[in-house]
Symmetry: C2
């Protein structure tokens, strides 16, 4: 959920990015950005495509794929590959850095923040003398264990 003001902010972030990189400011790019930020939770390209088609936007999957790449590059969106198959995306401008807990049986995804991950990254950067550009920490769990008896022990 974003307000009109929020929409203005993210649009200006995109504009800055497009200007800086000499890309055109097409209407499609702004439409996609708006709808991305209207999505709830994590979503895939196809669900966004269907949604926009239903709203009578004239848009193609190809353009959505292209635009998602720009949105990821401009830090407005994060892309995830939690499992095989399609990638999932999430708007990231108003959220602070978080990691993910994936329930493999219900497909639920929960987010968590733990400051210790940053400490680990700091150590790695010093150890290898590099700069970490991004990280992904995915924890996989199951809500309903295959063997309930084992789960109790």
């Amino acid at each position: 959920m974003t307000t009109t003001k929020d929409d203005d902010i993210i649009a200006s972030v995109l504009t800055a990015y497009l200007n800086e990189h000499g890309h055109r400011k097409t209407t499609e790019r702004y439409h996609i950005l708006k709808e991305v930020y209207a999505m709830e939770g994590h979503f895939n390209v196809d669900s966004l495509y269907i949604l926009m088609k239903n709203k009578n936007y004239r848009v193609s999957r190809a353009t959505i794929y292209n635009t998602m790449e720009l949105l990821v590059a401009s830090q407005l969106v994060q892309k995830h590959q939690f499992r095989k198959g399609m990638a999932l995306y999430e708007p990231s401008y108003f959220n602070r850095q978080h990691d993910h807990l994936i329930f493999t049986d219900t497909n639920e995804i929960k987010e968590f923040c733990d400051p210790r991950i940053q400490h680990i990254k700091d150590t790695i950067e010093k150890t290898f003398d590099i700069t970490i550009e991004k990280h992904t920490l995915y924890c996989y769990a199951r809500r309903h264990p295959e063997n309930p008896k084992e789960a109790l022990s």
Copy 2:
């Protein structure tokens, strides 16, 4: 690199798993297991397939895919999706739990162990009252920064 003794150990682990799950102990499964453990570093299905073809094994990609799934299920192998495209695998029986640092420009992959990741997992398990079955922590960095000047600052 594995010794003959190591090969016996991993073969017996596979045997135990196949018995326990009522799967047949086919020669292909043991051949694939042996060659998997002879691979250096992380590898993909196709490189394993080519290698086995060159060694004159009669094997198909389909069988390798099926067998890799068994090897992952039996904890003998770990599967990774570091980037889009093909999955990478690594034998895991003789290695202790580690995480990965991926260099996006050189495709190099380094491993590291940090005990704090276990502490994070412990916290998540308590917070959500669940059992984490596995996790992946991938840190992405670049050896040769796009903008060397920025890298210095």
